[in-house]
Symmetry: C2
Subunit: 417 residues, 2 copies
């Protein structure tokens, strides 16, 4: 009998799980509050106007055109009743045989939600558009104002968090003001722009090996990014960022603080944890069984960022390759069980991680080798283009990057709404 | 002595005037509330997800990179004092030697501003995004609902106004549901979608010659668009459009009414008319002198849609070519005067008008010949690509259309914010 798999969330985990269930006796319903999949690793390129929204966002209807076993419903999942095997959403409820929870994590301000007003996060496409608006509005206002102090604040950008998001954002922003804005302004000199990267810990890219951290730091500094490690954010207002460093208060006057730190469990995921009494790790993520199911609930699987998975004594990071592999594993598992075969064993294959820092600079740890500089950048670009979900996006991003590479043309620096 | 020309509005008229002042002894300040020029004739393609925002919107900073005589300020012009020769904006005021008013017209609901809530207009890029959201949200909700009557309403789209905007929008929407959504839905059949084009007058494209009106009507009907002429809109609510036809009330149940009718003088233009006591025509547009200046104000010129210009017994239409030619004329005039030469005479050169109706269908009146069907469509595409403001946009639109033409891939059908 055809099994009904309900998937909550169409990020990498949900999308790859849904696709991988093709060919079995499965009917899939995917619920998502958006009508498109977001290629999250490139969000910062939209936020800085280097790529357009449509370059990295793929409508689910397009992504699943050739997957007739998948029905996509644009609806926010609200709650779950594990006993009745139902998920409720905005417009009704839906019953599952198996549930895949791939709803991911939300941005977090570490208990200071009031900061979001003045410091936008970067987890969704709407966030990226909000960031883009703020960045380019700051430059417009700097060109408009007659007040030198005001202009200085407007040309100072702070990025909070030196993980991949913060590092890539700061690097891209510094590249933009150095290379992408020549001859654009009459009163402002874009080269006067300060980009300050603020990190509470002691290192940039703490998940990378030391040699690459070093290379990343050098690349950032070469681009003119001021890196402040050991700086804990105490307060953010409309025109200041107040940090504490070595016990001292450090005040940065800035009109634009971009938030690249922190994630938390929220929304449907939080409901699920309550309803299933699932065990969680220190970060609130669900500690799953070896088959990725929730302890005590063999029909509910946690995929992607929300799953807390330990392997070789380390927790797997919240990155796209982990999400993809958990999604594909869950599909493989159900297929094996439907055929009465032995359960496959989940094991994450780490193909390395990379971060790009401005034009022609990246750092990459591919496991068998470590790269930095131009070769890393080239491989980074190649890997990202190949990873895009549909051929149309690969073609578009290739064309956009190619065109920009040749012409140094600026991208979609539009302030909308 | 260098003259300071202030231009309000960076549409076709303002942009071409600013560029054409290059090479003279002029300093130009262009004020606009947006940071980008919008290629208005293709807005309906963004509204229907066929093109991306960045394909038709060009940041002014990019458009004027090679025009160092132009300073662009992103600020809304608020008022004018002709005696002091100043324009006030959000953040201060600015003094001019000559003022070019190219702020265009606003959308109008003929005294029913409350309709905007339920029936978005299509004059700006934000409007196009709002329309895009509504169109694709209607399809998503149709897929989600279990209620057949609700689904029928959601799959009924009304377009008000059968001028170029309404006709192109209706044609594009009908093309989308017929060719662009195959295999996209599991519960909805996009071919069940109704597109109803509502026009108070007796004809579609009333400004076109009768033979082309006929051709346009045939093309629309072939695409399945229901054309209702002689239908005056009486009321629009969230799920009905009430019209009066031949004295009878005609109620259409529809969740999406798109507004393609009506323009009016508003905002800065209305302030200007008050402050200068400018004579206006029946539509409220400024009746200008032969040199496009405001009677009694030799230093204020009206360019583009806001100018009421009679030529050979007919008023010039509010289209891009008229706007461009008024802009170029005003620049030429000031250059001639600066050199002590005789005033040039403004005369609009009509190179024809075109409207596209779905895939491979268009109608065009080029003056010396009339075209319809495939040849008109081909010339339309060529003309529009060549008219885009910067090479980057030409390249992007060419690539997007080409790719879509070959693959039938859908475009940027994203629901953001």
């Amino acid at each position: 009998m055809t099994q009904h798999i309900v998937i909550v969330g169409g990020g990498f985990a949900g999308l790859f799980a849904a696709r991988a269930l093709k060919g079995g006796d499965f009917r899939v319903t995917l619920l998502d509050k958006h009508n498109f999949h977001t290629f999250q690793p490139l969000l910062y390129q939209v936020a800085t106007g280097a790529l357009a929204t449509g370059d990295i966002a793929t409508p689910y209807r397009q992504a699943f055109r050739k997957f007739p076993h998948v029905t996509v419903l644009m609806a926010k999942a609200m709650g779950i009743d594990p006993a009745r095997k139902t998920v409720t959403h905005e417009q009704g409820e839906i019953t599952y045989d198996h549930l895949f929870v791939a709803s991911g994590l939300e941005h977090s301000y570490f208990g200071h939600d009031e900061w979001q007003e003045v410091s936008p996060p970067l987890k969704t496409l709407d966030h990226a558009l909000e960031m883009r608006n703020r960045i380019f509005r700051a430059f417009e206002q700097a060109e408009l104002t007659e007040n030198a102090e005001e202009r200085r604040k407007l040309l100072t950008f702070a990025v909070v968090g030196a993980g991949p998001t913060g590092v890539e954002l700061a690097g891209q922003l510094a590249t933009l003001v150095r290379y992408g804005m020549k001859n654009d302004f009459r009163r402002v000199n874009p080269a006067d722009t300060r980009v300050v990267l603020v990190e509470a810990g002691g290192e940039v890219l703490p998940a990378m090996p030391p040699s690459l951290r070093e290379a990343a730091l050098r690349s950032l500094e070469k681009l003119g990014v001021e890196v402040r490690t050991g700086a804990k954010v105490e307060k953010i207002t409309a025109d200041t960022l107040i940090m504490r460093r070595d016990g001292q208060e450090d005040v940065l006057e800035t009109a634009t603080v971009l938030w690249g730190a922190g994630v938390k469990v929220g929304g449907f995921a939080a409901e699920l944890v309550n309803a299933t009494a699932a065990p969680t790790d220190r970060a609130g993520r669900v500690t799953v069984n070896a088959d990725l199911s929730v302890p005590g609930h063999a029909d509910i699987f946690i995929l992607g960022d929300l799953a807390s998975i330990e392997q070789d004594g380390k927790f797997l990071p919240g990155v796209a390759p982990v999400a993809i592999q958990t999604g594909e594993f869950a599909a493989k598992l159900l297929k094996a069980r439907a055929k009465g075969e032995k359960d496959p064993v989940f094991r994450y294959k780490d193909r390395g991680s990379m971060a790009v820092i401005g034009l022609h600079h990246a750092v990459g740890d591919l496991g068998f080798m470590r790269l930095s500089g131009y070769p890393a950048w080239f491989i980074w670009a190649l890997v990202h283009i190949m990873s895009l979900i549909v051929p149309e996006k690969r073609f578009r991003v290739f064309v956009q990057w190619g065109w920009k590479y040749i012409t140094r043309a600026s991208g979609d620096q539009l302030i909308t709404r």
